[in-house]
Symmetry: D2
């Protein structure tokens, strides 16, 4: 009964199948395998971006850090939400890959950048001449770290501000599929149509073993990215296994199907949580993740029965008053069964 | 007929099988999967090193760069052979991971450090006080980049010099298995018994999809390594798939069996090459790789029939005098069939 | 009539005199001059710290960045006030020198860290395990960037929190003398007595041409600092000219005398400003710097007559309603004459 | 009797005088002083380069590292002679400032790059595609670290090779004046006329206290350099004191006059050394520095009488056979008196 993260789940059978099929004979290494050109075509088609530069890496942090670094000078600062993976969960990888660049925090409800807060952060950064760090790219997360979504208009609003100041924009799409499925929009609509310049397109959390695509809609810095990826030790020799995962993931829009499934699972979970006495769900879950405040007694019942998910703070104690609300995060991937979800709810309800 | 590299071959069926088996249900991410403790035990047992810190990454460059960085200050220089992967083939990853540290080149025949050359490099580095870069770790490659081997005595000689100056030692074992099989020694004998402090233990080139173990015989910097790995974006969320590969690779000493097979394949290839008229093989191949000088006509016949391997220089032309010798590299993995080897020889012989 | 900054003023005659006296014959370079041992002794005596490691650099940014880097791993974050030189005015030098470490911002009135805000920043940093950046040193500025002061108790409160979490503390003393003179305390009381581990002791803004001392009360990392300073290109060959400045600055407590003079000049200025109709001075000036809101007409009169000081925003226009208040910063050094101050006030009053 | 280095000598009186004159009233900081525009003009006139970007820093290492970094990607390697300041005497500052770039060593007699060795280094660097570090700028030292000179033709030969591969060229001119005076050429002839793109123009070793000009003949990256300088903590607040030094140094071609004097002093010294019995001077001294092999007894006599200069190795013992030759370096600045030189010779001759 593991609701800790969508990265705790297995590969989708089609993805494993693709790895198995790829495991025959010899393939040239380092991205020169025969599968990768098909992957490139599929990404370009999916994003309606025939010129896009497309690369594969194995972790979301690598995708984010390498993409951002490509457009960040060491004396720049990147603009990210206070609650974002690049700020909180990458142990400074973006700073490292951008040779010591900085992250300037932007606020906003539901882990989404408030346009005014972004504008303030940008203008405040720019008022020190040579003495201050300079303005670098803006990065947003979709779906966000708390399971909410930017609407297409909200994305366009953010990128318009960035563009006004000549800044590049990046979308951390570790949960791209969940967002796209929930919004019912195309990949193009959620990205370059809305002004996004580069994307980390996640596969790992949504049915793959470990693969993310980095997509630059303008390929001008493609070669530089390749050098950065190699220097960062993220160019795989047996690259075919990354290619195979991504091909399976894109074929027949499996990514979208799995994203939608995960969202549906989460919706079922949320519906159940709402029936737990005392439960409070402040941010409306829009993708595959829910943050809820539940009574300690509910957590105790679930966890003693083996349920896995995160409490906040991480070391919150199950000892104490039964009624006290403790914040928790629960995540569903495509693979969750209705039975498992219902069993969790039953435990929580007691 | 691909003899370009041992990273062009497939996974061993047992390794794929392990991935398949690992693909059920939920596992905690980031190295907290249930397979990893078994991997740790297997590595420790294989190396007879019950205290060793053991970590998995997905590329050999990551293993080298992260291991070395853990013992290299940014103002240090690492000592490496002029013909080594860290110097020639990692786009500066060790420099990057060690925050701008330098590599000092050491010479020696057969891509092996000459002890006098190492000693000279170390003492020359140390004579400038605060003005010069400082002495960092010594790294050797076993099997070397040209397919030769350090004897155990030669390793001990190198590490003794390092130790004399208080320097740590690292063994780049991208082809650890081939070396160990060829020397007929244990993993412990080739490493800590001979004075080695840390090892990149390669799986990728020898039957895995992409996994390397980093092993520190002294675990004092284990936590620092974990931070460096995360910051470098090399901590896998779905880590179970790295664990599964490595477990299969170590179980029943599959690694050693595959290394021996690759070596035997190469021996067959070398034997054949010696029958090609005009062939010259300067460095005696001791593992799974051969560098040979062959007449252009031989290369032309092989390549026109689809054989793949590297010429030096990379852009050497197949047009020109038939007799002229052109240097080439051919590598065998465990998966090469006798038929394939013999077919290549037949082509080369014409 | 330049009130733009205390770095716009000249050297004190004694400092120039010392440079002139030092300009005879030959002196060994790189800190091995015959003056430096005396400087070291003077610093140790001034700070009552006989074991302290003492080094000279030429800019305040170098002092801060090098000192902090010595105790900051690349995966750490330093804790600094939102309004601090390291955050706002060093173009990311601390991040650069600490190989990509980060700065976490702490809030508090008057550009002084609020203890609760610091504690929150520290605990929030520590709750992500390997995924988040780790806790690095705490740095405070005394006098602050807005001309206020930490009391000795307030410093002790901050360092106590740092110590609780095992963190080192740094004091950016670009205006150390002004603070010490204003508080009427000793250098020791304002630093190690109050729990400070390292100090940037400024000379440049207070009568020197360009010299700052970096002081570590615990000399354990002295050699590492020397390497960092050299690698940062901040080890002067003709170091005697740094030594000479600092010796003159410390002799007879010239530093303290000049700090007191600058403060007195500022007090006179503030008194005058309070008589400007409409003036508003929110933060009480405690050292040698005042931030005031003055009517546009007052600024217009002063600036058209040649007065120099900064408006906020930097590009604030002198055209517009006369009564509108515009924020400004005025700084006094030791060299300001009463006449100059009074002339400015007269202009502002109209 | 200090012949250890030209950085052991004093400022020229005119330079001190300029500092004294600059020490009146208020000047805007950070390069906005009223002297700097005149300095810029003087440099441009001296180099016949009306478009050149001109900046001042205080150390030669800063000049080299910042200039090179401006044209070096972190994945590049700079080409430098094995015996050069950037390689041997800057504790890795160029690597640090270029965010981990590498230095590839070039050989050649007299510490001058052999064109064939340079070409080989460049082509060897370029043959690995994404796997190897990429080609960065070529830097030469004039006068060299062993006191020899490139002829104008030799410089042109080196820069022509660089240009062939699209690489930028840098001249480390810590002893620019000595070289220019010895060659009897103009500053333009020795630099951009001969294909040089950027220059570290040294003042410190030749009569200044601590100032070097960085000159880019193409100003396209001027702003980037300013950011790098600030971030490196090398932008001086009281910049007027750098400006004043450089103005005095350039006025009336003082730099050239002092360079010529230093050379003449060295010529006198060399002439004397040739009369020391057993003396051997392998590289012909062409500027202000001589490397000689002298009998131990001669060294002993000189050093026991207080002479200061460097032996190689640094810890060479004065105990031992009288006749044994020990290598030494002696450097003359403009300030050496004939009496001092003759006294040293007298001691050495015994």
């Amino acid at each position: 009964m593991n609701f800790a993260s969508d990265n705790a789940g297995p590969m989708h059978p089609s993805v494993l199948d693709a790895i198995t099929k790829a495991n025959t004979g010899y393939e040239m290494p380092y991205g020169n395998d025969t599968i990768m050109p098909r992957v490139r075509d599929l990404v370009r088609k999916t994003f309606e971006a025939p010129e896009a530069a497309v690369y594969l890496v194995a972790t979301g942090t690598a995708a984010n850090a390498l993409a951002l670094a490509t457009y960040t000078n060491s004396w720049d600062t990147m603009f990210a939400h206070r609650v974002s993976h690049v700020e909180e969960d990458e142990c400074g990888a973006p700073d490292f890959y951008a040779n010591g660049a900085r992250i300037t925090l932007v606020d906003g409800a539901g882990a989404k950048m408030d346009p005014d807060s972004l504008r303030h952060a940008i203008t405040h950064t720019g008022d020190k001449g040579v003495h201050g760090v300079q303005r670098g790219p803006v990065t947003i997360t979709q779906a966000t770290e708390v399971g909410t979504l930017y609407s297409l208009e909200e994305i366009a609003q953010i990128t318009a501000i960035a563009r006004e100041y000549g800044l590049k924009t990046h979308l951390d799409g570790a949960r791209f599929a969940n967002a796209c499925a929930a919004l019912g929009c195309t990949a193009a609509e959620m990205t370059w149509n809305a002004g996004i310049d580069m994307v980390s397109f996640g596969g790992t959390k949504n049915g793959c073993a470990g693969v993310e695509a980095v997509i630059f809609f303008d390929p001008e810095k493609a070669w530089e990215f390749e050098l950065r990826r190699k220097r960062g030790a993220h160019l795989f020799s047996k690259h075919r296994y990354l290619s195979a995962q991504m091909e399976a993931y894109l074929q027949g829009d499996l990514w979208l199907e799995l994203g939608a499934k995960a969202n549906a699972n989460c919706a079922r979970l949320v519906k159940g949580l709402e029936t737990v006495e005392g439960a409070d769900i402040p941010d409306r879950p829009e993708a595959n993740m829910v943050f809820a405040h539940l009574p300690r007694a509910a957590h105790r019942r679930a966890m003693e029965a083996g349920a896995l998910y995160y409490l906040f703070p991480f070391d919150a104690s199950l000892e104490g008053p039964d009624d006290e609300l403790i914040r928790c995060r629960m995540v569903c991937d495509w693979n969750k069964s209705h039975a498992e979800i219902d069993a969790l709810i039953a435990l929580l309800r007691g």
